[in-house]
Symmetry: C2
Subunit: 279 residues, 2 copies
């Protein structure tokens, strides 16, 4: 791993690292915030997954999360949103497919399947790297925004026991039923919709064995709410099987980092509480 | 004035406005944060001046200031750093002269003198606009970063009674004595250094009538500290005349917004305290 940025921040360090990912077959960048507590021992880790068009910079520069990570003693790990590089397939005309739009799935269709394995990268390769290179414990939580909120939900729901807590801002909860998801899943997984169910939070809650509570904040003035996000579909799916969901609709808030920064303190406190409690 | 962005943020609104500046002779953009208290009545205003290469976006997206402005009931006003547009003189090869580098002076030299009057814009035209278009009182404070820290110091020192408080992060305190300042002041004011003294905080403290306390935070790992910033020169100038200065050196911190975000709460509390107290 190669450190390419290092900044003192709230008594800890905001760093950016580059590393070669064997799962993705390319160089990846990842933001790592080490709170002051990491100087004295191991800390639990909150993984943050960003949304369409983002890279490792958006969350670390705009969310204001470090203040609360320092308060609670959490490491923050914010990876890029897709494999990257000139050898990696892309759709240069689209912001919602290809580089910057990995959707946190393992692609099965050419040309995507050779690099687009963001689920395995986020769930397995990256934590192994983090837990070996930093004073990071194997106590993990996961959160994200929009496409990354979808990513957080499916990573937690697909991997019972791996995360102590999960939350999301403005997530895509039903990719099988909305334009962003339909486009991406058709490309990455093929047209057979039955293969999509394993990557759709609304479908996954119906069969998951672990009843990990879901915490979601959603702005009511979010321009993507009615067509792409549709959190009521997840509410219905959770209600049908008794899966615990706290869905907080926030009047006036949009899809931007101004929304995330307004409530990131509550999400970090939620995760810190889960990570502190006995398993 | 034309509103081009509006985002709910910490119970208030982060907005960006465009307007035609008669002082600068061009269209300008300015970030305006209205805290929740502005819905009920007038609030005091903290003006923020950004540094080289910045525009109205940097502070509003990266500093995390809105949380504390909402807590204390302050309006935040963050203008661009220079006049802008294809009709405005520029030095396209340089980040430290021309557009993005107005240095908060009133230029006297061609080609700069026709647009580069950032002092008068920040001190007079912008507050008049803010106080007529928003629920803003005439209670003003001023702060900034780097070139904008210099701007905050000289705006306050040149205009006794106009600001209730002033602070700066990593300011250029002696532009007459450092490369960034020498280059800009030569271009904007001409080679006669005697004309520079009215725009140099170290010179101004020697003659100012009002002993407005100066609050400065400076990172010790700031890459620009030894050559461009030199806060000890302001310490010496203040000591010589008994001007109150609180200069806080912060071990490990650099010149970035990670530094600003780490201490912005203390600066906003400082200004809120001054703005609340009796004159």
């Amino acid at each position: 791993m190669n450190r390419i940025e290092k900044h003192a921040c709230f008594g800890g360090q905001q760093e950016v690292w580059a590393h070669t990912s064997s799962v993705l077959g390319c160089e990846m960048r990842v933001g790592v915030y080490l709170p002051p507590q990491a100087q004295a021992g191991q800390c639990p880790v909150l993984y943050w997954l960003s949304g369409l068009t983002c890279n490792e910079q958006n969350f670390i520069t705009k969310a204001g999360a470090q203040r609360f990570a320092a308060e609670h003693g959490l490491i923050l790990v914010a990876p890029d949103t897709s494999p990257r590089g000139s050898n990696v397939a892309d759709d240069a005309q689209s912001y919602d497919l290809g580089q910057g739009a990995g959707f946190y799935v393992n692609a099965t269709q050419a040309p995507w399947s050779s690099h687009y394995r963001m689920h395995d990268y986020v769930v397995h390769e990256l934590p192994a790297l983090v837990e070996s290179h930093f004073p990071a414990s194997a106590m993990r939580a996961i959160s994200g925004h929009s496409m990354g909120g979808h990513g957080a939900l499916i990573c937690a729901l697909r991997n019972p026991g791996r995360y102590r807590s999960v939350s999301a801002f403005s997530p895509i909860v039903a990719p099988s039923q909305v334009p962003w998801g339909e486009r991406a899943l058709t490309a990455y997984l093929g047209p057979d919709k039955s293969t999509w169910q394993a990557w759709d939070a609304c479908a996954l809650v119906q069969s998951v064995s672990e009843r990990l509570p879901l915490l979601i904040d959603q702005g009511e003035a979010d321009e993507f709410l009615p067509v792409q996000l549709k959190p009521h579909l997840l509410q219905q799916a959770c209600d049908a099987v008794g899966h615990p969901l706290q869905l907080r609709m926030r009047p006036g808030y949009d899809h931007s980092y101004y929304f995330i920064s307004s409530f990131i303190d509550e999400h970090i406190a939620h995760h810190a509480n889960a990570l502190r409690s006995e398993p």
